[in-house]
Amino acid sequence: MRIEEHPILEFKKDKKINFTFNGEKIEGYEGETIAAALHASGVKVLGKSLFLHRPRGFYCAIGNCSSCLMTVNGVANVKTCVTDLEEGMIVETQEGKGVIV
């Protein structure tokens, strides 16, 4: 799902970043967001809605709509569409509000 070559842009993909998604090891690149790295690996479902438990993906990708909230390193409600990927991150799908305390 990555763009190999582009007529206008060049994508710097220098440093690989290892992280886990629901326990599974996934690779992304430095400088990209958690949601982008997941999408590149084919992960579209980021969480489940509060009442009807419907699948949730991102919608706006600029940190406005809260559709991309996930639990990252044990912290709930992280906007994964604007949070940079970091080495060793533990990323998990979030059910509803997530567990805060």
Binding site: R2, I8, A61, C65, D84
Partner: protein
């Protein structure tokens, strides 16, 4: 508490231009931007801009940020930038609160403020519109043009305004198939030069069509569309199905106006400007003294207009707090003339009919 002369909230095209203009006049400017980088949504605009030379026409949006930052650098002794910082409140007593990263919360007091918070994408109501794979067109642009990730393999674009048309073209540049572009309106809303360049790639543009439903379990697998009559009611028996893994929603933007509303600026719903916008005078000052606004937050337009509004608001805000330069009138007239030029055609007519309702 942090003291600032002129606080600019938002480092996108309008905010950066406001900062350039005000810093050039001599005001000390503090720019607060919630992202780690400046430029706002310019970062994903790979296409050339319209307008004229003064609004960087023919330059790709992605390259305009650098031009603006170089310009801003000329006045660097007057400029401070706080990135990765979100303004979270503007209170009646003038206090502004902000959050740096995740837990550094602080207060700011400023002599004047330019709010340039931009806009965000609207959604569209239809069954299963919340399925993953149904994304805002701007979101898809971010994914592709910032991160180099394809949103999927086959895309249905909903909305034939400029964003829908431009993003369709950019999807094809990224090697993604666009099966069709649809729009409930009976005419294409975006510039027809954009429409023609997509049409000649073989992508059909279906006007008077809307989304009936999306189908899929964990993500979209199929889209059903149908024709609408002149009252936008679905016409039975006109359904078409597309096997797609992405649906892009491009039904317009709406101003990000929370801070202005919270501060108590008088707001008005103006359809031509795409949502609630602040009442303002010709200097882009809102109904609260020394609170200015510029760019999409005052009404959704092209980025070229946002930049000129920023220049004008920054100039006037600086003048208001004591930095009125000798060439103030000359600079102001130039910006007013540029805005008039951008808005004088048929597209601008619609915008002007909205602006008439908010200028006090």
């Amino acid at each position: 508490m942090r003291q600032a002369e002129l606080l600019i909230i938002g480092g996108g095209p309008a905010g950066l231009c406001a900062a350039i203009s005000a810093a050039k006049s001599g005001a000390k400017v503090l720019i607060i931007e919630r992202n780690k980088y400046l430029g706002g949504q310019l970062v994903k605009q790979t296409h050339m801009f319209f307008g004229s030379e003064k609004q960087y026409a023919s330059t790709r949006g992605i390259d305009i940020t650098e031009i603006l930052l170089n310009e801003l650098d000329k006045y660097k002794e007057n400029v401070e930038i706080l990135a990765d910082t979100t303004v979270v409140g503007m209170y009646e007593d003038g206090i502004i609160t902000a959050l740096y990263k995740e837990d550094d919360f602080f207060k700011i007091s400023a002599k004047a403020v330019v709010v340039a918070t931009g806009a965000f994408e609207k959604s569209l109501a239809f069954p299963n519109n919340d399925l993953p794979g149904i994304y805002g067109a701007g979101a898809v642009q971010t994914l592709m043009n910032v991160h180099g990730v394809k949103p999927g393999n086959k895309v249905l674009m909903v909305g034939a305004g400029n964003i829908g048309l431009i993003v369709s073209y950019q999807l094809m540049q990224a090697g993604v198939e666009v099966v069709a572009i649809l729009d409930a309106a009976s005419k294409i809303g975006g510039y027809l030069v954009h429409a023609s360049k997509i049409r000649r790639m073989g992508v059909p543009i279906l006007t008077s069509y809307t989304v009936k439903e999306a189908i899929g379990k964990d993500f979209i697998e199929k889209a059903v569309i149908c024709q609408v009559d002149d009252k936008f009611q679905p016409i039975e028996g006109t359904e078409k199905e597309f096997d797609v893994d992405v649906m892009c929603i491009s039904v317009g933007l709406t101003p990000l106006n929370e801070l202005l509303a919270m501060r108590g600026c008088q707001m008005k719903y103006v359809p031509q400007l795409s949502g609630f916008v602040p009442l303002r005078n010709e200097n882009y000052e809102t109904t609260i003294e020394n609170i200015f606004a510029a760019g999409d937050t005052t009404g959704v337009e092209e980025a070229s207009a946002a930049m000129v509004e920023g220049y004008l608001a920054g100039l006037c805000a600086a003048a208001k707090i004591g930095y009125k330069t000798d060439d103030f009138d000359e600079r102001k007239n130039d910006f007013v003339k540029q805005l008039d030029a951008l808005r004088s055609g048929p597209v601008g007519k619609h915008i002007l009919s909205g602006i008439e309702q908010i200028v006090v």
